[in-house]
Symmetry: C3
Subunit: 270 residues, 3 copies
């Protein structure tokens, strides 16, 4: 049976996040930490950043969702990520993995694949180049930016989804969210968003917030990409460049109401 | 004899910070670094961030105040924090300790307590949950956000103040600043400030700037919380959400004048 | 023969950056990472931040320019910086070195000098205190802020340029860019810029973007300082303080056109 994607369902999640302020434990990169924390606070969640091997299990135990992002990884951080991923799996806490830069270096691809096997993430959220790299398909990652449209990673996303039993959320001009049975496209967003650093990472953090309140990883991933894109559109409408877009993006996450959602939402299914 | 808290006294400190640009050495967390540096610059101080074990003593020796914040701690950083705290104590440089997330994990509580013993900070600045945890009192820390009002930590703050001979500055809707003889309440601030990450850490950084120019830790702590809260109010009055609040907060620290201070100041004593 | 510095030449570089989006690999400090990435994106380049010893050589191999900034250095990071500098040299990729805080501690001065020898940077970009320290001349670094005007480091810059065969770009109220044959002064910028953290680091990152498209290190360094200063002026004209200046600075990098450049450019030669 086909699911009908509605602004009402997304709004219900937003309201629950604002009401319950779920704790989202992030192990993310240095560039994205501040943005991720601010986006989670702006939408109403409660972010925590902690990566010490001595405390990650305990911190994960307090969280309603865990987000691991390999953007500026190094040896010690990988150990903490692995321990966190294992703890999240054991405790059945939804895990979102953002494989930043997979494909750019062997080190990143291998680390992401290890976390994928070990952590059994509910949702993998990356750009098309990263998803192609994880599926060992031809493609190229130019640093941390994608050289592909989300649609180019359609088969790769389906393969990963099958192989690791996870939702794969591919960001792009049109986002593509895939699980075993469905492929959903979210056409929200604005081109200027690609000129703000860590907005992809922020989408991953917000995906964590939705995974904390919605038990369907597919719904959480779709709702998060829609809200991220809509906040970006609301911000871009009044921004004079990427500096003010970033500021207004946080304002939009905070002020967004049911009408904003309904007025902007653009989801396609096949 | 009762001290009368006046906007004039606070303004004198602000003017001295702007005139002398005291160097404030920060070992703080990844999320708060940029915000802390910007807030210190906006108010007129000169921030430096340095955490390498090889240089922290030398850097501390150049500083007029030191701020240690355990927000994203790990093993190597703790070693640097301990060395810095010891150096600050030996050289009689005022130390501000922000025990971010104490109570959330054993690792954080223990680290904060060790720094408290070792460093003999002039001022401990945290939220109520953190102060309760350091005093080994029942309470809970939800990640790095407090589940309590500052007033709930009144006895815990008094206990810590006695035990470690320090001022304890507890942030909340109404801030509570306690030393052996006094309890001062600062009612400045705005609810939207809790939706901006690292504003508590920023208050700690600003407390360092005031401790650099005011020899009374109690006065430094109270003045810093008042200025932080007033800048927050000035920002919130024109902000459309937490994104613009953060931007206008820095603008307000930079533009704040004696009239702004006098017009907003809300301090209560008992 | 005397080179004539024109807005047209600078504009040609900006257009090439926007068209080609060159990958700039940054190993920079925690405070500056987000700002550097955003400034590079705003001007049209593609930033990547990566510091793991396991991947820096591979990442450097993908880049059109490399920027190393020692702002918050520690042992592991230095190892990565050294490997990156060596890789950039071997592969003939232009390297920009920002010796943040050289002179403040022995550790920083020695690290910067080692990278200077090892990496053979095309451009060293620092403030006057840092350049004086690297040339072993008397002077003082107050933390990471300069206690000198760029002109005070004129001889030191010439010495370093000779000794290491590099361009030395000294920031200040008037920037001074020196190579063996020339000294160029860029009078763009605004005093409020010194109240925003990491704007010097951002100038270094932007210098990387220009070095990626302009084969003359002297031209790249001058063009970058001019564009940084002009974006700062455009931002300051409408900013209410350092918070909004930072936001509008990114907007200005994004919106700057040939007329903005021509209208603001202030370059002097001797």
């Amino acid at each position: 049976m086909m699911h009908l994607w509605t602004a009402e369902d997304i709004w219900r999640d937003v309201e629950q996040i604002r009401r319950e302020a779920p704790l989202v434990h992030n192990i993310t990169n240095y560039v994205a930490m501040n943005n991720s924390a601010n986006a989670l606070l702006a939408i109403g969640a409660s972010p925590v950043m902690a990566h010490a091997i001595e405390e990650v299990e305990e911190m994960t135990g307090l969280a309603s969702a865990v987000v691991i992002n390999i953007g500026t990884l190094s040896e010690h951080w990988i150990a903490a990520m692995e321990r966190t991923a294992a703890a999240a799996r054991k405790k059945n806490i939804p895990l979102v993995l953002d494989p930043v830069g997979a494909g750019a270096t062997v080190f990143r691809t291998e680390t992401a694949l290890r976390l994928l096997s070990l952590g059994h993430p509910a949702i993998v959220r990356g750009n098309a180049s990263e998803i192609l790299a994880l599926a060992r398909r031809p493609g190229s990652t130019k640093g941390v930016d994608s050289s592909h449209q989300a649609e180019d990673a359609r088969d790769a996303a389906a393969q990963l989804s099958d192989q690791y039993d996870c939702v794969v959320s591919v960001s792009g001009a049109v986002d593509l969210i895939v699980d075993r049975d469905s492929a959903v496209r979210v056409a929200n967003g604005h081109p200027m968003m690609s000129r703000v650093t860590a907005l992809g990472c922020t989408a991953s953090a917000l995906t964590g917030a939705f995974a904390a309140v919605n038990r369907s990883p597919l719904h959480a991933a779709v709702h998060a990409m829609a809200v991220t894109g809509i906040a970006g559109e609301m911000a871009a409408a009044r921004a004079e460049g990427p500096g003010s877009l970033q500021v207004r993006f946080l304002d939009a996450l905070y002020t967004m109401n049911a009408q904003d959602l309904a007025g902007h939402l653009r989801i396609d299914i096949e």
